[in-house]
């Protein structure tokens, strides 16, 4: 994990320049998916449709932020040896709450997300941020870091979800966007986009574009 942790410097109010930076950094320069290579699993599995991608993104944002907040509050009391277990317990507690919420208010969507809500627990973004940031930074900053990383994850998910839904089924959020006349002219939905290989290739291309613009390359 190549996550960077900035040393805690205290100045400004609740939203001083440092705090803004904590939120803005993971959106582009230090994006959890494209740069830190965290949380890839779910970014591919839930993006066949945009609404699934959005719910998942929001879920990860909330879970990361809350888990960061909790862990950062108790960070000085966690024995170093069992910190992974403590982190896992806190994260699964938060995820259970989110899962019960989805089951209560968005039952259909929670059925479609199937095991992937539970898999937020092992989403590397959550664990990665806990390890790299929350364990060494104050609660409020960690909370913002969680929000920032969650949003950085959310927008990539939204882009992948949009492209896959439009190309794969001709719809966006369930509404038809590719006009019927195109189908009559011989246009066919690209079935590959809904399947696994399409997701891999698409994410590869997005990473390529993001890195070409931000000028980052490995080795």
């Amino acid at each position: 994990m190549t996550a960077t942790a900035t040393p805690p410097v205290k100045k400004g109010g609740l939203f001083g320049p440092d705090e803004i930076k904590v939120i803005k950094d993971p959106l582009w320069d230090n994006n959890p998916i494209a740069f830190q290579i965290l949380g890839i699993c779910s970014s591919l599995a839930v993006t066949t449709r945009l609404d699934k991608a959005l719910v998942m993104g929001i879920g990860v944002t909330l879970v990361t932020a809350l888990a960061n907040l909790i862990i950062s509050t108790i960070r000085n009391f966690i024995p170093n040896k069992i910190r992974i277990i403590v982190q896992l317990v806190v994260v699964s507690g938060v995820v259970i709450v989110f899962d019960q919420f989805l089951k209560a208010y968005m039952f259909d969507l929670s059925k479609q997300l199937s095991v992937f809500v539970g898999l937020i627990i092992t989403n590397c973004i959550v664990m990665g941020r806990l390890e790299a940031y929350a364990m060494s930074n104050p609660p409020w900053r960690s909370f913002l870091d969680g929000i920032g990383n969650g949003l950085g994850y959310l927008w990539i998910l939204a882009v992948v979800g949009t492209v896959r839904e439009i190309l794969g089924s001709g719809k966006l959020l369930g509404a038809q966007v590719i006009p019927q006349s195109l189908y009559e002219a011989g246009y066919v939905n690209n079935g590959l986009m809904v399947l696994a290989p399409g997701a891999f290739i698409l994410l590869g291309i997005i990473v390529w574009v993001q890195r070409s613009i931000s000028g980052y390359s490995e080795k």
């Binding site: 259970i96 290739i201 390359s217």
Partner: protein
């Protein structure tokens, strides 16, 4: 997705083949991507991690099956005199705890009985606790309502499928070192695209 259908009464061979090839846990469900991307740079470490995952998966899936059957599921506590209990909301917490415990025990056992293997696997063993393929395997087992024999088979099959994918990817990446890849595409980008092609190849198994 057809994969979401309950197929609890299928044969063991079919569960095995399906979990290795057709519904490869990595290539069609995207589980365990993080360690897959991080460790597939070298063939020997990929093989080590692959073996460790098979091992842990074979232990945890049946174990979580037992937990689900006798403690967590609706009415599962009937043997203890509590017939209408439903602890399924504790599933995530229990599963992840049991996985972490198994990984810890495996780590200690390997260290005691085969220090050589321990040195080879060393850093990867603790990482397996947060590998989504392991938790995902257990959750899929519950969702598909496998019985015990199927759970054991599924545990082995999904672990083996994961190992197969990471080892083949590591060998591909090893060869790709000498290829000329555009700088921003290097590393993550090209690995994704290659994985997409491998996944496409695995899709041809779906007729079995």
């Amino acid at each position: 997705m057809t994969a979401m259908l309950a197929f609890s009464d299928e044969g063991l061979l079919s569960v095995l083949l399906k979990s290795i090839f057709v519904e490869n846990i990595l290539l069609s469900f995207f589980l365990g991507m993080c360690s897959y991307l991080a460790v597939s740079k070298r063939v020997d470490s990929a093989i080590g991690l692959g073996i460790a995952v098979i091992f842990v998966q074979v232990l945890t899936v049946p174990m979580n099956w037992a937990l689900e059957e006798f403690v967590l599921g609706p009415g599962a506590l009937a043997w203890a005199g509590v017939p209408d209990s439903d602890l399924s909301y504790l599933r995530f917490l229990t599963f992840i705890a049991s996985i972490a415990a198994v990984v810890q025990v495996v780590e200690m056992a390997v260290d005691k009985f085969s220090p050589k293997l321990y040195a080879a696997l060393g850093i990867f063993l603790p990482l397996i606790a947060v590998n989504c393929a392991i938790l995902g395997g257990s959750l899929f087992m519950v969702e598909r309502k496998y019985d015990f024999a199927q759970a054991v088979t599924y545990g082995f099959g999904s672990g083996f499928g994961w190992a197969l994918a990471i080892v083949s990817m590591a060998t591909i990446r090893w060869r790709m070192r000498t290829a000329h890849v555009p700088a921003p595409l290097k590393g993550l980008g090209i690995t994704f695209i290659t994985t997409g092609l491998v996944a496409m190849a695995f899709m041809t198994f779906s007729g079995i």
